[in-house]
Amino acid sequence: MRLLIKNGTIVNNDNTQKANVLIENDKIIDIINHEDVTVDETINAEGMLIVPGLIDMHVHFRDPGYEYKDDLESGSKAAVAGGVTTCLPMANTNPLNDNRSITEAMIAKSKNIGLIDLLPIGAISKGFKGESIVEMGDMIEAGAVAFSDDGLPVTDSSVMRSALEYASSFNSFVISHSEDCCLAHRGVMNEGEISTILGLKGMPSEKEEIMVARDMLLAKLTGGHIHIAHVSSEWSLKLIALAKKEGINVTCEVAPHHFSFTDKKLLTYDTNYKMSPPLRSQRDMEAMREGLKNGLVDVIATDHAPHHSDEKFVEFEKAPFGILGLQTLVPLTLKLVEDNVISLNKMVELTSYKPAKLLKLENKGKIDKGMLADIAILDPNLEYIYDDNLNKSKSKNSPLLYEKLKGAAVYTIKNGNVVYKFPECITK
């Protein structure tokens, strides 16, 4: 099977070129400047951007256990509809992914669906209890790539220390859900002017920063690699910058909602803007954008967190935290490019190249000869309403649902096969 993507603009982290991409089976076999080849199928990418398949290091697919929110199939469909070909699902499933049999089952089910590569993140601690670490070696052997109790912090510093030390034995890393739960316990939004106006209990940004600081210090102590999930505050980034400057092995990610929105969105008590960490101040949002621009932030990850409509259709305080993210990753990130915060090359670095490097995926993250044919073809100018026909998640908890968006993945190619095509009725 040979596929030619012609007339498009190839965007890599370090270069941009107008050229054609020749794919045979699951590999990119050549980058060519002509069309004089025999192929089975051709995609005309005139006016489109050809980028390496996006890698989302932070998703929740709710499978096993909460399949009514999303499962591996609907999650995979949402991923490819967002140009994402590799996903790292967090371990807070039911049962938890804290042993190899769950990891194996998730990977087997995903392979059977065949839309994306699923690289599970195992729990740090057995039962998410924060007491003893999981069998990391066994789980890595089964296909887990990193470890996190995401949703909960590991409050016992000695357990976190062990996790960092032990993970490094397997050349793996630990992802920190940085939250000091005692500070502003039961907070439901950012503590700031808006929470003061609304009379809602706030979560100060220090709630995150305190734990970021601790985990930087534990990474210093152990030499282990700590990856800070969903950074939301200016001071978290300041601490990460200091740690990086000091040579501590730290990386971090920012979610699109944290570089796109502020807590002002909560003035109507819209539960679709309720997330943890919460939307913060204008200053924090600008710090996220600056961090993406100056290279301090390593990765954009969505924290795709589906919740059923019934769960969100309640009093604000009762609603669960979380927002859909996979299908709004491209438009929100392209908006950063449009706003001249980052270049298209930087966008590719943040959404594909750098995640591939962190995960040591040698054959992903670039459009180049010999690389795996995981490709997203983006139309940066396509305007559309993100509606129920487009939304592939079982859930609807996106504040952008039914809103007009600009920019989308119009083709997603996984292992050389087209696994998603944007509806023609809209593209035409």
Binding site: G199, L200, Y269, E315, F316
Partner: protein, 308 residues
């Protein structure tokens, strides 16, 4: 009609004219309440449900009295004995009661935003009778009515609101309204009970009780919720009383004709001493009386708005 909305959720969104309209409308009901036959037929044939998802005595009785004096069928509902305890959602519970052809819901709920959430999802009118730490508009209206009654005016008055501002929906509604009405608001309380971002209130934050009370025309003491002690917000009731309570000595710093207010129920000897609560300056029982008139005005205006 100056006020033409379906619901009354809070005073933050209201204009000065709308707030004054409620106050002016309440006067006729105060007069009615002081007459021999305290009854009018303005809401005859209408159903008002007091949907209280949080405990309350005076607010519920006040609303019930108001509805009945306007000849509405007033029905009381409390969540402790309801289907909410069986897992039904708030909106489903209210929608079921709306199906019984309810015209107005008086909603009390522990969650901020609950009143607007319900109002946005039903056709019946909603009066917010207190939602979390957000707003308690009828309490603020009755406070303003009482102040105007005693002072003859509102603009330019110095008002001190003292106590747990952070968790107080009464303080919020009062502050939003008083700012619009040209009143000078000061707030004071333990630092743990003053929001860190209190500049949004656009009022002076005092450092001491003396600073808060000095030159005041109106002192509104907020009830301290005794359960807050568990949150390490105050070390003890004794200490709270000593540094943040109102007593006769401190009142001497206020203007001679200053009035003392409290939304109740009062904790005697804690936020307010009995010699103050029961003094000539105290208008606490006037507030309770005026509460009925204000609530009659609110129910009547919303009912008129329903007629379109």
């Amino acid at each position: 009609m100056v006020y033409n909305k379906k619901d009354l959720i809070g005073l933050r969104e209201l204009s000065k004219e709308e707030i004054l309209y409620f106050l002016d409308s309440a006067q006729q009901f105060k007069d009615l309440n002081n007459s021999e036959i305290k009854k009018d037929k303005l809401l005859h044939g209408k159903t008002v449900i007091n949907a209280f998802f949080e405990n309350s005595t005076r607010t519920r009785v006040s609303f019930e009295t108001a509805a009945k004096r306007l000849a509405a069928d007033a029905i009381n509902f409390s969540s402790s004995s309801s289907s909410v305890s069986k897992g039904e959602t708030l909106v489903d519970t209210i929608k079921n009661m709306q199906s019984m052809k309810t015209d107005i819901f008086v909603l009390r709920h522990s969650a901020s935003g609950a009143a607007s959430f319900v109002a946005n999802n039903i056709d019946a009118s909603v009066v917010n009778a207190g939602d979390g730490a957000n707003e308690h508009p009828t309490q603020a209206l009755l406070d303003l009515f009482t102040i105007k009654e005693h002072k003859g005016t509102l603009e330019g008055l110095n008002v001190s609101i003292i106590g747990d501002i952070l968790h107080s929906r009464v303080a919020r509604s009062n502050i939003w309204a008083m700012n619009k009405l040209g009143m000078n608001v000061r707030i004071f309380g333990p630092a743990t009970m003053i929001p860190k971002y209190s500049e949004v209130f656009n009022c002076k934050v005092c450092k001491t009780m003396e600073e808060a009370v000095e030159g005041s025309d109106v002192i509104i003491m907020m009830r301290i919720q005794l359960e807050r002690q568990n949150e390490s917000l105050v070390p003890s009731i004794r200490e709270y009383s000593k540094f943040f309570g109102l007593n006769k000595e401190r009142i001497k710093l206020s203007n001679k004709d200053a009035i003392i207010m409290h939304p109740g129920p009062i904790n005697r000897g804690v936020e307010i001493n009995s010699d103050v609560a029961d003094s000539q300056r105290s208008v606490i029982l006037d507030q309770v009386e005026n509460g009925v008139a204000i609530r009659m005005a609110v129910l009547n205006i919303l009912n008129q708005n329903r007629k379109g």
